[in-house]
């Protein structure tokens, strides 16, 4: 059900899906930026071994890409809160999770140049279907 807005049902359904797409887009942007930042920094275990925990935290927090990604994730949290005021949780949670998994796989292939082979695509589809079934 997506009928909490005081507008026509069709418009409220559209508004709901726009919110869901926005939440997923923010999550995908945030996760890809953070993943790219972490890949750029290298193995955090090695950095911690070399510079201690403080050095590892400093390396992460001084990465501009990480900060933008963390901002996206923070904004995603509030966007999700707003979405839940428009759309029911039973639709919002599985829809955003599934869109985020598929979008992450596409973004990882396009922007992070990851080798998303058939096995990983299959895993993404299984996760989406699994999340949908769990939310029923």
């Amino acid at each position: 059900m997506v009928g909490r807005l005081a507008v026509s049902p069709a418009a409220s359904v559209s508004a709901g899906w726009i919110c869901i797409a926005g939440v997923a887009a923010l999550a995908i942007s945030g996760e890809c930026l953070i993943a790219s930042a972490m890949r750029g920094l290298g193995d955090l275990d090695l950095i911690r071994g070399r510079s201690g925990l403080a050095g590892a935290i400093r390396a992460v927090l001084t990465s501009p890409m990480f900060l933008v990604g963390a901002f996206c994730m923070g904004f995603n949290f509030f966007a999700m809160l707003y979405t839940l005021s428009v759309v029911d949780l039973s639709l919002a949670a599985p829809a955003t999770a599934s869109l985020t998994y598929v979008g992450n796989a596409v973004a990882a292939k396009l922007f992070l140049k990851e080798n998303v082979d058939r096995r990983r695509w299959l895993a993404v589809l299984f996760v989406c279907a699994g999340v949908y079934l769990l939310s029923k």
Binding site: E31, C32, I34, A35, M38, R39, L41, G42, D43, L44, D45, V60, A97, Y101, N104, A105, A108, K109, L112, K113, E114, N115, V116, D117, R119, R120, L122, A123, V124, F126, V127, A129, G130, V131, Y132, L133, L134, S135, K136
Partner: protein, 146 residues
């Protein structure tokens, strides 16, 4: 592509899975004790920070973020994603055995699908190795940085 993970790295993936799901469950349990929070009673959010379950949940979620970032520093995003999805399975099992909620047939099917997805990815390589620049290869050949 690199194919193997060390035991420590598998433990970090386990942390990613467990801290997120158990942390969410703790927060949910704690907020259930605190009561419903609305715009007119935002002070309850501060009161929630004195609840032991909420504090434990926040600590676990900080642990999740730290272990998630550590995992992303040596594995692909598309490799770590199913590990985070496995958290849904842990939440479903926690809700069944700890909160005594009903686990329907469709939820069992969902658990099965996510377990399969984790199995697919866990059997594959953890990271895509991009081509290195000449300078980086020269450094590796010379043994510097080992």
């Amino acid at each position: 592509m690199r194919h193997t993970l060390t035991t420590q790295q598998y433990l970090i993936l386990l942390c990613v899975t467990l801290t997120a799901s158990v942390g969410d469950s703790f927060l949910s349990h704690g907020m259930g004790q605190v009561g419903q929070v609305d715009l007119h009673h935002l002070g309850l959010l501060l009161h929630a920070l004195t609840n032991a379950w909420v504090i434990a949940g926040i600590v676990l979620l900080i642990g999740f973020f730290a272990s998630y970032m550590t995992a992303l520093s040596w594995a692909d995003l598309t490799f770590v994603m199913p590990a985070t999805a496995f958290g849904y399975v842990v939440v479903a099992l926690l809700s069944r055995f700890w909160l005594h909620e009903h686990l329907s047939l469709s939820r069992c099917a969902g658990i099965f699908l996510i377990v399969c997805a984790v199995g697919f990815v866990a059997n594959g390589p953890s990271r895509t190795e991009h081509e290195r620049g000449h300078h980086e290869l020269d450094v590796m050949d010379s043994g510097v940085g080992r």
